[in-house]
């Protein structure tokens, strides 16, 4: 059993090494194809072995790993995100004519970091998992070496990331000092103390930076815009999922006695994020930047549910998990279509839906899901979040959330208006790219399944909080 817990992570590392070695044997475009196949197989195997970990609910390696349904579910979400990212990357690399297969290796290694992040049982595993993921992403963000924007994005993300990790580490050492423990579940048993609270405050800074919440969000638009588009998708889906996984676990378990404090802080940050994200997004005309601000807003929604976790941790963590799942499909799908079309600016999308019928439909579905139109996954996710928040009497924050999400419809809808209701720009229709098309199709199905028949997923999620406690 002990070994099975590290199967997924090890498989990902093995696949990464295979990808690196493969480039010694094949050259040119073939290299890309081979790497793509190896990566996909690796991720799919990892998904398979992760799936088998459901219901285990045990700690391994002296509490270094905590394999429970909560972590396993989020591992799966992150891995599904990875698989979709790999698919849309294939299209992207072809478009920019980049033959560097280190790209796939780094994605796989980042995924490995995510897996360990989601199932980390103590603070050290958590930190190392976080760094594996982050450093891979820093490099990937700067993968377009010729592009100034890409370099800039990588550099900014790296420096600010290091800065925030400093806060995180400082907080961890305060917590260790106060409790003498690094195992998350053991920390939770300690009495609330001043050292714990300071540690909590400092660690929150680190977490909130990673998930891009206001006022730690400044890097998000620049990095999202500058990074290669598939990596942006990966950041919005995978990194956020893994970040939230560790965040929720550590706050709900290790800091369960400091509920009063994080409840207040998270509520304020949630409101700020929803307002800034949604309002600033209105004036964006670059869709990558628009989605960056929208991602800040979505972080805000999840933090709203998180704030409700003080009194109802089960519903709160369930709604966050569900939201992350829906968001993964939606946002990767949306970025996938940006790659497919080879466009980034709103104006360039005028009439795109008439050039590419199915891609237009898919993009409409993704943006409707982001806006939370019923029958899409996004609606279901928002329904849970606001239901949880109002049930726990966070009235004002919820009202602000609902108002801002109504505002958000404006800018999401504007994209759809451009797709269908503007005269076509004179840009040639993009070539069909099957990798991206498959990823989009999977995402569309995911959006509708989660929106229309979410019951099976919900059943799975509802017990995850209990699984963390066992």
């Amino acid at each position: 059993m002990q070994f099975q817990a590290i199967y997924p992570g090890s498989l990902l590392v093995a696949a990464a090494i295979l990808v690196l070695m493969a480039q010694s044997f094949v050259k040119g475009e073939k290299k890309l194809t081979i790497s793509l196949i190896i990566s996909l197989i690796g991720v799919i195997l990892a998904i398979f072995f992760t799936f088998k970990l459901f219901g285990v609910n045990e700690s391994f390696y002296e509490n270094a790993l905590r394999v429970d349904d909560f972590g396993v579910f989020l591992s799966l979400v992150a891995l599904i995100g990875t698989a979709l990212t790999i698919l849309i990357s294939a299209g992207y690399l072809k478009k920019v004519k980049s033959y560097y297969t280190e790209y796939y290796a780094l994605i796989l290694l980042a995924a490995c970091g995510m897996v360990f992040l989601t199932i980390s049982g103590d603070l050290i595993t958590f930190l190392i998992g976080l760094e594996i993921m982050s450093i891979s992403i820093y490099i990937l963000a700067g993968f377009n070496r010729e592009s100034k924007k890409s370099n800039e994005a990588a550099m900014k993300y790296f420096i600010l990331g290091a800065f925030s990790t400093g806060f995180l580490l400082f907080g961890m050492s305060m917590v260790y000092g106060a409790t003498g423990e690094i195992v998350i579940s053991e920390i939770g048993k300690a009495e609330k103390s001043a050292g714990m609270l300071i540690g909590l405050g400092l660690m929150l800074v680190g977490f909130l930076f990673k998930i891009g919440a206001v006022p730690f969000q400044n890097w998000v638009p620049d990095v999202y815009e500058g990074a290669p588009t598939p990596i942006t998708a990966f950041m919005a889906a995978g990194v956020k999922t893994a970040g939230f996984a560790a965040f929720v676990r550590i706050i709900l378990i290790a800091f369960q006695n400091c509920g009063e404090e994080w409840h207040t802080i998270l509520q304020v940050i949630a409101v700020l994020s929803m307002i800034v994200g949604n309002v600033v997004a209105i004036s964006q005309r670059n869709i990558k930047r628009l989605l960056a601000y929208s991602s800040i807003a979505h972080t805000g929604y999840m933090l709203l549910a998180f704030a409700a976790a003080k009194s109802d941790p089960n519903m709160a963590s369930s709604s966050i998990l569900f939201y992350l799942f829906t968001y993964t499909f939606t946002v990767i799908g949306a970025f996938g279509i940006l790659i497919y079309s080879g466009r980034e600016n709103l104006d360039d999308f005028a009439g795109f839906a008439h050039q590419k019928r199915f891609m237009g439909i898919a993009m409409t579905v993704f943006f409707f899901s982001l806006a939370g139109i019923p029958s899409t996954a996004g609606f279901m996710g928002k329904l849970f979040i606001f239901m949880t928040a109002i049930d726990q009497k966070l009235y004002w924050a919820s009202v602000i959330g609902i108002i801002t999400s109504m505002i958000s419809v404006f800018y999401y809808l504007r994209v759809v208006v451009y797709l269908y209701m503007k005269p076509e720009v004179t840009r040639a229709a993009p070539l069909t790219d099957w990798n991206v098309a498959i990823a989009s199709a999977v995402s569309v199905i995911g959006v509708f399944v989660l929106g229309l028949i979410p019951q099976s997923v919900i059943q799975l999620i509802l017990t995850t909080y209990q699984s963390m406690l066992q």
Binding site: L208, T264, P374, P423, Q455
Partner: protein, 641 residues
């Protein structure tokens, strides 16, 4: 499991949508139209079956397809429940919907994206059916948003065209969608509050729940629900989208913006009547807003020259009457008017559509005139619709409107008086519309006149069918004072039982009072109608004098410009949000950056040096923002130590 067929009522149009939406552009346009119409016809037949079943034994029919969301004590099903109220609704939707599909076959025969049109139309019927058949609020909300979406798609159907000088069709659609979101905000918040208070979202369970446990919250919940209703049903202050919605093709205006979707708010209040009656504040608000809308929009209808705009303001006004009825607890009267209005307003819109077609897409009534003999079928049917709208006995509108006014008279005399004034104005602008369009002298060029023609057979068939319904549809609700059985109201009784029990039954008017009220209202309507017809069918100098008169001219100007409400909204809301967005953006991305560009350079001078080399610019200000956030958190934490 004998109720499985209920599932097919919404599924059939959905199938139509999928076929037309996905492969419709490759199909023959006749096939497309047939698929669109046949699926709705199928639903209509099933709806009729359901109606007769309910007429037979009086029991509601329900069917649960699957459990949609089950969390702890919350169980939201994907289930339908047809009681008397929803039975009326599904028959109106599919019946009128089918007729309009047939009409569209004739009307849209020149349009190149006819498949897209029928796909949207079918999707609309599907969503609307979900809305009225749902057995819980969340599923209802799905339909609610769905119809809003279709409305938006169909308003912007001819998106290349400009609706007015400033507003393109696409923008008109967007406006409708966004204004509706304001209402949806209220609806959504109400859903959450209902769940929090009662722990269920199922209508059946809610109707058995003890409303008193909500305390004062019930007023908040119902007011929020009403906010949702004002958005969808175009009431003050959210009515502004409906007149612009006329940018859509005329069958769309008939189906969505007159007969069905805009009545969703009325339906919702009827569905949750047992909840609304527990808050007198809300009920009064509904009655007052309804009355004000009825009168206010009637005044705007007086001066419009676009035939569809007259009808649009008239719809807003008639919806106001329905809300007035709901507000005084006359639920079945409101629903009755909803039904008759669906008949005659659909007829008027479709009639207007064939007038517009006959005049080569001319919608300005000042450029029409004397069409009476050129398109007789259209004229006669349009006339029936107009008489029904005015409320002339024995046409449908008379019975329903009179029912409402009589009930309002019992509750609020002042509102009744206002309603009566509104009825007079309704008669005036309706008569004006008929007079300008069909009577007087022709203002068309000779060449245009040659082309005036009756519409095709399918269009005429639909007009006649709706004409018959408008003429006799009111007879099922003849009040007792006229020796009728008030069948419609008795049919709906089971639905509103709980609400009426709470209100403690209503005071019945004596038959004599009812007679007097009827005579008064007929007199007012006849006067208004005669004035409107007389002034506008002949070239009377009173028209010009009124406009030239300093006060009269101003009044005319204000009414014609719709009280400048759009401009005010634009200034207050749209400009401020856009401005706020820009300001915030500047604040976060520009001001902080420019202000603190080099601040952290003092702390991490080394890093900054390298950063500057590669032109990253503002990273240090980002770090500064993180720093401030950290400081904020730490200050809070320190205050709790």
């Amino acid at each position: 499991m004998g109720n499985t067929y209920l599932l097919f009522i919404p599924i059939l149009p959905l199938i139509g949508f999928l076929i037309n939406g996905l492969i419709g552009h490759k199909l023959n346009r006749k096939v497309v139209g047939t698929i669109g119409g046949a699926t709705v016809l199928g639903s209509f037949i099933l709806s009729l079956m359901t109606l007769f079943r309910i007429l037979g034994d009086g029991n509601a029919v329900s069917y649960v397809a699957f459990h949609w969301i089950t969390i702890a004590d919350l169980d939201i099903t994907f289930g339908f429940r047809i009681d008397q109220l929803s039975a009326v609704m599904i028959n109106v939707i599919t019946g009128v919907g089918f007729l309009i599909h047939v009409y569209s076959n004739g009307y849209m025969h020149e349009d190149k994206s006819v498949a897209r049109f029928f796909a949207y139309l079918n999707l609309f019927v599907f969503s609307m059916l979900i809305l009225v058949m749902a057995d819980n609020i969340v599923l209802m909300f799905l339909g609610w948003e769905g119809v809003g979406l279709c409305s938006y798609l169909l308003i912007g159907f001819w998106y290349q065209d400009m609706f007015t000088k400033k507003l393109s069709n696409a923008d008109a659609g967007k406006k409708a969608f966004i204004v509706n979101r304001v209402g949806d905000f209220g609806f959504l918040l109400a859903i959450f509050l209902i769940f929090m208070t009662f722990g269920t979202l199922n209508f059946e369970q809610l109707s058995h729940a003890d409303m008193n446990i909500a305390g004062g919250l019930i007023t908040a919940i119902t007011l929020l629900l009403f906010l949702g209703a004002t958005g969808k049903s175009a009431q003050i202050p959210l009515y502004i989208w409906l007149p612009d919605a006329m940018a859509g093709p005329t069958p769309v205006s008939a189906l969505i913006h007159a007969a069905t979707m805009v009545t969703a708010g009325i339906y919702m209040i009827g569905r949750l009547s047992f909840m609304f009656v527990h808050s007198e504040t809300t009920m009064l608000t509904i009655a007052v807003i309804g009355t004000l809308t009825a009168v206010f929009s009637a005044t705007m209808g007086l001066t419009q020259n676009d035939i569809k705009k007259v009808l649009a303001y008239s719809t807003v006004s008639q919806l106001g009457y329905m809300f007035m009825a709901m507000g005084v607890g006359a639920f079945s009267a409101g629903i009755f008017h909803l039904m008759t209005h669906a008949f005659f307003k659909a007829l008027l819109f479709l009639g207007a559509g064939s007038v517009i077609l006959a005049c080569h897409h001319e919608q300005d009534m000042r450029k029409m005139g004397a069409l009476k003999d050129k398109i007789p079928t259209t004229f006669w049917m349009f006339a029936i619709g107009s008489l029904a709208l005015m409320g002339i006995p024995p046409f449908a509108g008379f019975f329903s409107k009179d029912d409402i006014l009589a009930r309002v008279f019992v509750e609020h005399k002042a509102l009744w008086a206002l309603g009566l004034v509104g009825a007079g104005m309704t008669a005036f602008y309706t008569a004006r519309m008929v007079a300008m369009t069909f009577f007087g002298t022709s203002k068309m060029t000779k060449k245009q006149e040659l082309h005036v023609h009756e519409p095709g057979i399918s269009v005429r068939f639909v007009l006649i069918a709706l004409g018959v319904l408008s003429a006799i549809g009111g007879l099922i609700g003849i009040p007792a004072a006229l020796h009728g059985g008030a069948h419609f109201s008795h049919f709906l009784d089971p639905v509103f039982e709980a609400a009426q029990a709470h209100q403690g039954g209503h005071h019945h008017l004596s038959h004599l009072t009812e007679w007097i009220l009827m005579v008064i209202s007929i007199a007012v309507v006849a006067t208004g109608g005669w004035l409107g017809f007389d002034i506008y069918s002949k070239e009377k100098s009173i028209r010009k004098n009124f406009v030239k008169h300093p006060i009269g001219g101003k009044l005319h100007h204000i009414s014609y410009n719709k009280y400048y409400i759009d401009e005010i909204y634009d200034f207050v809301i749209v400009k401020s949000i856009m401005g706020g967005s820009k300001a915030l953006w500047k604040f976060f991305d520009v001001t902080i950056i420019d202000g603190f560009v080099n601040f952290v350079a003092d702390i991490v001078a080394f890093i900054s040096g390298i950063m500057r080399k590669i032109q990253t610019g503002h990273t240090n200000s980002y770090a500064f923002s993180i720093f401030i956030g950290a400081l904020g958190i730490l200050i809070y934490i320190a205050s709790r130590l």
